[in-house]
Subunit: 196 residues, 4 copies
């Protein structure tokens, strides 16, 4: 029965477990057919409304240039390139109102254990994106083992391919609300090093 296939596909979406997928299926069945058809049309047509930026691989409204809003904005600082995992990370950085350089969406992180087969990881495209005007690549990845491992790999590859380019990672430290007593040694070392 295709309902169980629907449940399986919903379970594969990020953040949905089997129980929640079944609640969503029951919810969809209870709504009228116009609701289901509208949702289906929105999903089927999702990519028609957006275009993947040819420079940073972020999704945005299509443009004649093939570039997203940010890449098309010539007033930003072309010497800085920030590598993020997901599109949503760009929104978080923009909300901090401090970064004025460009972005690059890596699409995923290196897996410490094994490579998942559908993994996106645009390492080659990243190296091509590091044009001569880029002076620093900022690896803005998660402060997790996978994020650290990916950043380390990127650093190695960038330094080999583009020796003159600086590669940095986001600073570690006390996050807002943290108390010293409960902080781990690595965070304290970074917090001490980054004091100011």
């Amino acid at each position: 029965m295709s309902l169980s296939e629907l449940t399986d596909v919903l379970t594969s979406l990020p953040g949905l477990g089997p129980r929640q997928a079944r609640r969503v299926v029951e919810y969809l069945l209870r709504k009228d057919s116009a609701y289901r058809e509208r949702l289906a049309a929105l999903i089927a047509g999702a990519r028609l409304e957006v275009s993947e930026c040819t420079r940073c691989f972020r999704f945005d409204a299509p443009s004649a240039s093939g570039l997203c809003r940010t890449c098309a904005d010539g007033s930003r600082d072309a010497s800085l390139l920030m590598v993020v995992e997901h599109d949503v990370d760009i929104d978080a950085i923009e909300a901090a109102l401090t970064y004025r350089g460009y972005y690059f969406v890596l699409g995923g992180l290196l897996n410490l254990v094994k490579q998942r087969k559908d993994k996106i990881l645009r390492t080659r495209e990243l190296l091509e994106r590091i044009t001569p005007e880029v002076r620093e690549v900022i690896c803005a990845l998660a402060a997790t083992p996978e994020g650290d491992y990916t950043a380390k790999e990127l650093m190695t590859q960038i330094r080999a391919a583009r020796p003159g380019v600086a590669v940095s990672v986001l600073g570690r430290g006390l996050s807002v609300g943290a108390e010293l007593e409960y902080a781990d040694p690595e965070t304290l070392r970074s917090a001490l090093k980054n004091r100011g």
Copy 2:
């Protein structure tokens, strides 16, 4: 842009918040068009594959009789009718391997504060379902204020309309893992009453 409409619709699904909806959208955009079209087809066609049982209102594979598997099963105990809120509650009860009567899906609970406009609540259909062979209606609703209030209302209406039918609610008591010291007085009273 229809992507923000897609995000809004996804946010309206049970258990998804705005942040999770945006992750799902990004995920959908990253998949190929065959994936999106398959998911859309499954959603649009969901109701074609199932039929709402004409007796208990549960969704199941369509049958010539219009009845779900359980209602079509003549070997169950027709004197017992259990009222549940959702289809998924039936799965939970069946997994406990102890109930042999029939079910009725109420579709929702009475709201203590105000009535939501899209609320399903099949009180009238429930009263019609209580045929002479039904001897007991078991209100198997959540142990929450809304569940208690709905059960109380159902009891009043069933007793008025079908005076000879017993109406019961599920027993309260210590749930697995509970310690006495932290149990609330109502739970302790029920646990004491239901000792055995």
Copy 3:
């Protein structure tokens, strides 16, 4: 140094971990000596102010009879004896305002894995307490594996030693706030059995 011994002893108290014990030590050091001496006097003299009831082993204000308030209250139902683990469980049951029998404080639970050396478990005293007027012993222990195992052992011993006495356990069921969908099968079976 005796401060580390103080930290160790505090860590052995129920609910305190090493980190919390060290915070308490620093707190005690910061207070004046009158505070520390008052706390020390209260701890050293704690037992002088209370007496262990000679019938139920609960701590209460000393009395000429050697009995606690409850055991000295002749108006309660002498046919009911409730076995609890701790003194505090009696407070929880009394707060539920429904039980009118007597109590017995077992002092601990049987350990499924190994016996801790300082374990209190007054099984022998319990059997002596089951006088001819006791008609039912209610095992009001935690709904945990250890509580269930202890209740089972008590049942076996009571039935062997006092064949005419009923032995019961508190009822299981939906605890306040529970939703059917998330309840475990054992809880649902009990809730169904104890419906009413």
Copy 4:
């Protein structure tokens, strides 16, 4: 009855609530008198075994010099002075194995709303401790509103009283395990500023 006074005093200790205090009281009553007397002696005599360092106000084993281990250690970097709230914070910093300067225990934080009457805050003693050899004072306080407010006040006072001394705070940034998407703007700004 002094048992309720004992419960009250225990409830006033850091990290203990009324329920936990009652469990501790019952535990103490169940132990033998030797246990209670030992605990009482350890509490009453706690201060006899330690001495408050006359330079940093930390508690440590008494010494002829009146100084704690760290302050007595002439091999550390006398140009650095780290201000912490509690003794336990020193243990956390030492565990990070990177700081080689001296400490000063402030004893508390400024309260944003109102001053608690038993508040310790050794601002005056801190200013006296900033001898000519101190080149930098590091305010290593919690990353909370109270910690930030206290650090700001200390900075103002130190800069006024010791104009040549640098005053710094610990760096903010992504703490270990953090994902960009969920980081607050202030943390992201610091993480970006402290990249390296």
